[in-house]
Amino acid sequence: MKKTISAALLETPLKLSFRGLEAVVSVLLLSLSILYLLEALPLLSVTSGGKVGPGNFPLGIACIAIALTSLLLIMSLSKRYGLHDARKVTFDRALFVLFGAVIIILIGSQLASLGAFFAPWIMATGIMFCCQERGLRLLVVPPCIGGAIYVLFVLALGVYFP
């Protein structure tokens, strides 16, 4: 019973309002666009012989990006378009997706030190576990993937690992 409850908890889908997610993403992108604009402004003082310097094009991009992300934010928060929209975004198996992302980040960042055999082995084990794989296959397949990756990249393609 205990196992069922914990499994059910892990499998619970995370449901977010579509417009809410849109608002969050647009705020993030708006912030990035403003940062981009702030970085682009000093470039305007640099001239490259012509009228258009290295800062003009990024400035244009920043302005359009700020306008579009602001528009998306307004629309997702407006009563007329956003708040009455009942659509939901479902993140199925959200915890496992998060675990998967953490495994990819952790093993990926240690790729050079773990090498072409152990890094794929460990990562494959983690990802297969996140994909609900249990039992013998979880023990047998990842080392095979590690071996295949090692043969392909190191022996056949000559990729160098320190």
């Binding site: 997610l21 001239t47 012989g49 258009v52 290295p54 199925d92 393609l157």
Partner: protein, 493 residues
């Protein structure tokens, strides 16, 4: 032109080129047959393996994978009603009912042969249009190139999503990322917070992250949905010639349509397939059969989506403008090998485009044979557990990124773009405009600056030259039409 074509066919005297075609075709079928994976992911995963091979071998392998993935997408659509690619959705509408009627072999035969005919006819069109187009493009000034790139980006942003704003945001993200690195004209570093960024954002790791690693996270998410069991098939080799005689007009019309739609940036194989299916139904003598196992429906969809592959290659080869995410990735691969697609390609490296033409023709019998002989095995591919697929894709992504520069920097880029890609997919922000803008960004900016400098600082130069004006007008109309539709739709809310 014929001499160059002979050079293209002559490239196949090198066994490695032919092996490349076989490998590409085999992997393409494999990728295409697996629901959820597609040509874009397949081509991005294959790029790391092409770093060390001859450019011609690399190009032939990537192009044959691209074409074969469209063939393969139909197999799972017909047998398990789960299209391997978006372009095979229309195929499933008639293919799966035929499987339920015990005619899976017939449906597969028609789909594979129609795909082959689509590629064959469209490559003839590609051959006769790409060369004149590239010669015409030699007269393009910087203002025309700028306008062409704007038009390409605008069409992609609109076709790839229902939302104009999100398409535009994706385009701006791509353009913003393309400005990272040392400015080519002034040498000033822009947005390069680390010296690793001085050469710009590495394209292949970014693509691997956006399309492949984000797919891994989606696979983890969907791993509790049941996978289909493949159906049995029979009679794949016993299809009377009369069937194809009756389909001749459908095949010709759909191949032509597929090619033309494939040329339009962003339209691609899925739109070609849906439109061709719709027109085939409208002009058919038996429209009531559509959706219940019509061979016309299968041949219309399949010949069009494969013809769109050749169509998408036309702007890539002749103008250096990618028409789809897959061709944007192929451009990236060409650049890695020091080949710059565009009008000069036909004079500087004629062996590349003509070998592509030759490879598309040679691929027809090869892919038809691989498809027909291996149909029951390709069908089994769709049964491979998602857990194993996700692990393999993730490992190839990170190792492929590492091998691009033998350093950890591209790996970090891949991981960052993988997470970004997953979040964007969830927020319904299209990925295609990001890639296209990333590829076209430099060309867009360079030509913009060059045109303004040549005109003595006159920004109206883009509206004064007729060609540039036409291209920009198309871009503006393509933004305005959906905007007007949206305003009309929301008027009565």
């Amino acid at each position: 032109m014929i001499d160059n074509l002979l050079i293209g066919f002559g490239a196949f005297s090198d066994p490695l080129v032919f092996i490349g075609l076989l490998v590409g075709a085999f992997l393409g079928y494999l990728i295409g047959a697996i629901p959820g994976l597609g040509p874009t992911l397949g081509v991005s995963l294959l790029i790391p393996f092409t770093y060390s091979v001859d450019p011609l071998v690399a190009v032939v392998t990537l192009v044959s994978l691209y074409a074969a993935a469209e063939y393969g997408g139909a197999i799972s659509a017909i047998l398990i009603n789960s299209p391997g690619t978006a372009a095979a959705v229309a195929t499933s509408w008639d293919g799966y009912p035929l499987t339920q009627q015990g005619k899976a072999g017939l449906a597969l035969n028609v789909s594979i042969i129609s795909s082959g005919i689509g590629i064959f006819i469209s490559t003839i069109l590609l051959f006769f249009t790409a060369v004149p187009l590239s010669e015409f493009a030699l007269n393009f000034g910087p203002e025309a190139y700028f306008s062409l790139a704007v038009m390409g980006l605008s069409l992609v942003s609109i076709f790839s999503t229902g939302s104009l704003i999100k398409g535009g945001i994706a385009m701006m993200v791509g353009l913003g990322l393309a400005t990272i690195g040392l400015d080519a004209q002034s040498g000033v570093p822009r947005f390069a917070f680390d010296p690793e960024f001085f050469e710009g954002l590495p394209l292949v790791p970014a693509l691997l992250g956006l399309f492949a690693l984000s797919e891994v996270l989606c696979m983890i998410e969907q791993s509790n949905t049941p996978q289909h069991e493949s159906s049995k098939m029979s009679g794949i080799f016993v299809v009377p010639a009369k069937v194809y005689y009756n389909l001749k007009l459908t095949l010709l019309r759909s191949s032509l349509m597929g090619y033309v739609i494939g040329i339009i940036p962003g339209a691609g194989a899925s739109i070609a397939s849906f439109l061709s299916y719709g027109i085939a139904k409208r002009v058919s003598k038996t429209p009531e059969k559509f959706g219940h196992g019509s061979l016309e429906g299968i041949s219309a969809s399949e010949s069009a989506n494969n013809a769109a592959v050749s169509g998408a290659l036309a702007p890539l080869l002749a103008l250096g403008i990618p028409g789809s995410p897959t061709t944007a990735i192929i451009i990236g691969a060409l650049m890695i090998h020091g080949i710059q697609p565009g009008p000069l390609l036909f004079t500087m490296n004629p062996e590349v485009p003509f070998t592509i033409f030759a490879s598309l023709w040679i691929s027809v019998p090869v892919m038809v044979l691989i498809g027909l002989l291996g149909a029951k095995y390709w069908a089994k591919v769709a049964d491979v557990p998602r857990s194993i697929l996700a692990s393999i894709v993730a490992c190839i992504c990170l190792m492929g990124a590492y091998s691009s520069e033998n350093s950890m920097f591209p790996v970090y880029i891949t991981i960052a773009f993988g997470i970004l890609g997953y979040v964007f997919r969830k927020a319904d922000i299209p990925l295609a405009p990001i890639v296209l803008a990333l590829v076209l960004g430099e060309m867009l900016e360079t030509n913009f600056r060059r045109a303004v400098v040549i005109s003595g600082g006159d920004y109206w130069v883009f509206f004064q030259k007729p060609l540039s004006l036409i291209l920009l007008s198309i871009a503006i109309i393509s933004f305005l039409v959906p905007l007007i539709k949206w305003i009309r739709r929301n008027k009565n809310i």
